[in-house]
Structures are given as structure tokens and as C-alpha cells.
């Protein structure tokens, strides 16, 4: 992206991104054509689809359901397992020349330990890991690892002990006290936080008079959740010092700018790519124009600018 009117490069959690636009996990297929620079214009980094220790078939029944300004999904982390990923997909991601993060499923301590030890065999071929702590905790009560500060810290500590490279931890907005979870994960050595994942919702099928999804609940994403996600980004950025990557409902450059003003160093885009493949380029161009027009020389200068006290004003309330 040489034509941008401002330099959008930024260092986030151990990765140097050319732009702050990251493709969220679960969106981009391993189609070599789609990993070409031409199809990734404006993209700073990519998160792979979820990788679990063993292959997963994913959920049965309806998997996607459109909602007002968004969608629900219940895919069930269908993937070919970490061995399948290394054999079939890592070569595709590696050839692209773009930074990527392997999104890791964590259901049990054993799973994440083994998964990371297998990933370590590939050495430098894997630039970074994004740990998904939204999965149910198979070792404990079945609640997601990311729900409580204690279990989230445990998850982060295990991943940190097994993975020395860049480690991003993707939080879940279902946590009742997200800032506390964020602090706990930060204290265990995560390099960045992704805030956050889909929002738990459901849909009812009026024709069949039963829930649409076999698992009843599903993850809500898309522009509908943006104000909710922005609020969590604001709260988490107020609680931690490590970089935060905003994620949730970003569908235009203004959303990205809002999250960065709230303190995010980058944003992830997911569902809105389903509506527009060209979104990363459009967001990057919009952000660059915004910086240039405001005469802010670097993207870092925009990070958290919206939190600054105005002259003579009072500090913003943190809650």
C-alpha cells in the first residue's frame, strides 16, 4: 500500500504491522489465491482459522443465521487439527509474506501444551500465536477459560510457559469483569490482548418452533455489536499497559479510528469481510486520510488520543 497518505505501521505485541488492520480468526480460508498480496491489500496481519490439537468436524445443523446488521454463527471450530494445519496450510500462510497468528483452541491444559509443543517444532515459521480463551474449560467447570480472572490467568500462564514467541490472548466479552480478566492475562506475560470475541446470542426458528441452532446459543458478530465492543475496548485499555487489539463489528474506517482513539493499537475485522472483501484496503485508506488531515504523523499518535483529558476538563470516568 504505497499510495497511503500517512504511515500506518505500528508494532503490536511482538509483530510489526504495516497497517493496523488484522483479519480475525475464522474468516479467511487457506486458498493460495486469497493469500496473495493483491488480495490482502491493506491487511497488516492475518489470524488463521482456529487450530485444535485433534481434527474437529464442527457443529451439525444450521451454522450461520443473519441478524439485523450482523450474523450469528455456530461453526464449532471445524479444522483439520494442528498436524493438518502444519502439513496443508502453514506452507500457504508462510509463502504470503504477511505476518500471521496461529489461532489456538484451548479446551484443556493438556491440549494447549501439546499444541504449542507441536507448533514449536516449526520454529520461526510461525510468527505468533493468538490464544482463544472463549472455549469451554474442559478441566474445570465447563465455563469458558476467559470468564474469570483466575482461569484466564491460568490459561495465559500455560501458553506463556510453552511459547516464547509473540503471544496474543483473545478475550471473551462474556466475562462479567473484563478489565479484571485483562489485567490477570497481562500479569502472566501476554504480549497483547484481543478484545474480544463474538457475543453470545440465539435465534428462534418460528416455522419449526424451536431454536435455530442445535446448541441453542451462537456467537453474534457484525456491525450490530460495534458499540458494545468499543465499550469493552475502552474499559480494557484503561486497565492494562500492553497493546490491545480491538475486535467486534468493525465495518468501516471510522470504526477502526474509534477503537484506536479509545486505546487500541490495531483492529481485527471479521464478519464484515463477508459483506466486502475489499474492507481492509478501505479501512487503511480511510485511516491514512484521517491521520493526514489531522496532521498526526504516526498511527501511534492516534492510539488512546480519545482518552486524553481535554484542557480544563475533568478526567473521563473509567466505568
Amino acid at each position: 500500500m504505497n499510495s497511503l497518505r500517512a504511515d500506518l505501521s505500528i508494532a503490536v505485541g511482538g509483530l510489526n504491522l504495516e497497517t493496523p488492520v488484522v483479519i480475525a480468526s475464522g474468516v479467511w480460508p487457506y486458498d493460495p489465491v486469497l493469500w496473495s498480496p493483491e488480495r490482502l491489500e491493506g491487511v497488516g496481519a492475518l489470524c488463521t482459522k482456529a487450530v485444535s490439537l485433534q481434527p474437529r468436524e464442527g457443529n451439525r445443523g444450521v451454522r450461520v443465521w443473519e441478524t439485523p446488521c450482523g450474523m450469528l454463527n455456530s461453526i464449532g471450530l471445524q479444522n483439520s487439527g494442528v498436524r493438518g494445519f502444519l502439513k496443508e496450510y502453514l506452507p500457504i500462510a508462510g509463502k504470503s509474506g504477511i505476518p500471521f497468528l496461529v489461532n489456538l483452541v484451548m479446551e484443556s491444559e493438556r491440549e494447549v501444551r501439546e499444541n504449542l509443543s507441536i507448533l514449536r517444532e516449526s520454529g520461526d515459521a510461525i510468527p505468533a500465536v493468538e490464544l482463544n480463551i472463549s472455549c469451554p474449560n474442559a478441566d474445570c467447570d465447563g465455563m469458558a477459560w476467559g470468564i474469570s480472572p483466575e482461569s484466564a490467568a491460568r490459561a495465559a500462564a500455560i501458553a506463556r510457559s510453552e511459547w516464547k514467541g509473540p503471544l496474543w490472548v483473545k478475550l471473551t466479552p462474556q466475562a462479567p469483569d473484563l478489565p479484571a480478566v485483562a489485567k490477570a492475562v497481562e500479569s502472566e506475560g501476554a504480549d497483547a490482548l484481543v478484545c474480544g470475541n463474538t457475543w453470545l446470542g440465539m435465534a428462534m426458528d418460528l416455522k419449526r418452533k424451536q431454536p435455530v441452532f442445535r446448541r441453542v446459543t451462537a456467537g453474534l458478530s457484525g456491525p450490530a455489536v460495534f458499540p458494545l465492543a468499543l465499550r469493552t475496548v475502552w474499559q480494557v485499555c484503561g486497565a492494562v499497559s500492553i497493546p490491545v487489539v480491538g475486535c467486534g463489528g468493525v465495518s468501516r474506517w471510522e470504526d477502526a479510528a474509534a477503537m484506536i482513539l479509545a486505546g487500541a493499537s490495531a483492529v481485527e475485522v471479521g464478519s464484515s469481510l463477508f459483506a466486502d472483501f475489499d474492507l481492509p484496503r478501505k479501512i487503511s485508506e480511510g485511516l491514512a486520510d484521517y491521520l493526514a488531515d489531522a496532521e498526526i504523523p504516526t498511527l501511534a499518535g492516534l492510539v488512546g488520543l480519545g482518552r486524553k483529558e481535554k484542557e480544563g476538563g475533568r478526567p473521563w470516568a473509567q466505568d
Partner: protein, 267 residues
């Protein structure tokens, strides 16, 4: 124009809109990139509006393509298709495509059969119309179409015009003969003949079950709810003998013997 590869998004314009009655219609869209590359069985995702609501594109099979124009057939089933039905000549529309493996590319190196029977249910007729044009009339053994009945008269008239000599059935006999697509199919598939089918899942399953030993000669274009149309979201998978496969990029055309019909959820 280089074809192949993953689908792209295009800003296009509605060139013509022909209502077919009863909430269905034929939309002609000017988009050279899709029209020049699409093959029968492939589809496009048409975004009904310009904003975030409705959020996703509607998957619609290409019903014809020539020059820089392609056509799709819709029937109103919800808010998105109702918006499509309101499109007029000149209206801008965003389209993603062409998506998927069509009837020709799905067969790989396998040669075309001497004869093809076309079997379509309701708007499943659309990709078969395109297939018939590309196959040439001499290769079409027979065309059988089915519609629900009352409320489909206008659509049935269009089917008769689009497929001269079509064997037409409706559940209640209001259009064509009383019966279903299956009523018009032969007891066994003649040698060197394939059956190309598109329609509701129940119809496709019934067709597959009618010829249990000839699944390899039945090519079925499936429908599924989907979000991305590029193989990313895994929203549209169906169970097959080789595991869950994506309707959008691994299909939508599968041989009947690949699909595990008993495990299909009617989504």
C-alpha cells in the same frame, strides 16, 4: 478476462428486471467479469442493499450469461429477496462471484455423457437453464420441472417458455400435470446418460434415492445458508462421504453418491 480463482466483489448495475409473477422474477445484471467467466451451476452472492442491513449477500444461481450480462432468478422468501424484487433498471447492485464448482468443472476430466436429463424444482430451474444452453439441445434427453402449485402459475409459464417441451408438474395440478419431478423421471437411467438436478433438498434426496446404484451419474446442485461464499466461514458445509464439505467452494455441484443424504439437515 482471466477466469478461475476465488470470487471477487463487483459493483454492477441492474440491466433489466422481469417479474415472473407470484413474487418471483428474473434479474439481468451487467457485470462483464462475472458474465464472461460463469459456468452453469456456479452462483453469485447478490447484496440486496448498500448498507449493513441486510448484512449478507443472497446466493443465487446464474441462470444465463452472455457477453457482459448475467441473469439470476429469485423468489421472495424474506426481507433480502423482497429488496431484490424492488430493483429496477439502472439500480446499482453489489455482486460477488462467480462462486463454486459448476456442472462442468465438478466432473474434472470426466467426458460429457451422450445425453443429460435435467430435473429442476422451483427456482432450481435457473442453473439448469444455463446448463441447457451450454450443453446444446441435442444433448438434452428430457427436461422435467416441478413447482409447488397454486401461487406458482406465473413461474410455471416462464418455465414453459424457457424450456420448450418441458415436462411440468405441480403438487396440485394447477400448473402442468399433477405430480412431482419424480413423476416425470424414467424408472432407470438409460446408458451413457446423466441426470443434472437442482431444487429443494427433499427433491434432490428423493431423486438420489430413486437411482441408488447410479449416484455417480447424478449431479446435484445444492443450496445452503452461507455467509462468505469464499470457503472461509464454514457456514455452508454438508456431510459427505469425505467429511464435511463446503457448498460454496467444494460444491454447489456434487455427485449424489458423495452426499450423505440421511444426515443433511434441512437448513
Amino acid at each position: 478476462m482471466s477466469c478461475g480463482g476465488s470470487p471477487r466483489d463487483y459493483g454492477a448495475a441492474v440491466l433489466g428486471h422481469r417479474p415472473l409473477g407470484d413474487g418471483s422474477g428474473l434479474l439481468a445484471v451487467r457485470c462483464e467479469e462475472i458474465a464472461s467467466c460463469a459456468e452453469p451451476g456456479q452462483f453469485v452472492l447478490v447484496r440486496p442493499g448498500t448498507g449493513n442491513d441486510p448484512f449478507l449477500g443472497r446466493p443465487l444461481a446464474v441462470a444465463d450469461a452472455a457477453g457482459d450480462v448475467f441473469k439470476v432468478v429469485y423468489r421472495i422468501v424474506g426481507r433480502g429477496t423482497a429488496l431484490l424484487a424492488s430493483k429496477r433498471q439502472g439500480d446499482p447492485v453489489t455482486v460477488r462471484g462467480p462462486v463454486g464448482r459448476g456442472f462442468f468443472s465438478a466432473r474434472g476430466e470426466k467426458a460429457l455423457p451422450r445425453k443429460v436429463i435435467l430435473a429442476g424444482g422451483s427456482v432450481g430451474a435457473a442453473p439448469l437453464l444455463f446448463a441447457a444452453r451450454r450443453l446444446g439441445m441435442s444433448r438434452i434427453e428430457k427436461t422435467v420441472m416441478g413447482v409447488a402449485g397454486k401461487g406458482w402459475e406465473g413461474f410455471a409459464e416462464w418455465l414453459k417458455e424457457a424450456f420448450p417441451g418441458v415436462d411440468l408438474y405441480s403438487d396440485d395440478g394447477t400448473a402442468g400435470k399433477k405430480g412431482t419431478v419424480l413423476s416425470g423421471l424414467p424408472g432407470s437411467l438409460p446408458p451413457d446418460t446423466e441426470l443434472w438436478a437442482c431444487g429443494p433438498q427433499g427433491m434432490l434426496r428423493a431423486v438420489a434415492e430413486k437411482y441408488p446404484l447410479d449416484g455417480h451419474r447424478i449431479m446435484a446442485a445444492l443450496e445452503s445458508r452461507m455467509a462468505c461464499g469464499m470457503g472461509g466461514c464454514m457456514g455452508c458445509v454438508i456431510p459427505t462421504v469425505s467429511g464435511n464439505r463446503r457448498v460454496c467452494v467444494d460444491g454447489p455441484v456434487f455427485t449424489a453418491e458423495e452426499v450423505m443424504w440421511n444426515e443433511l439437515s434441512s437448513c
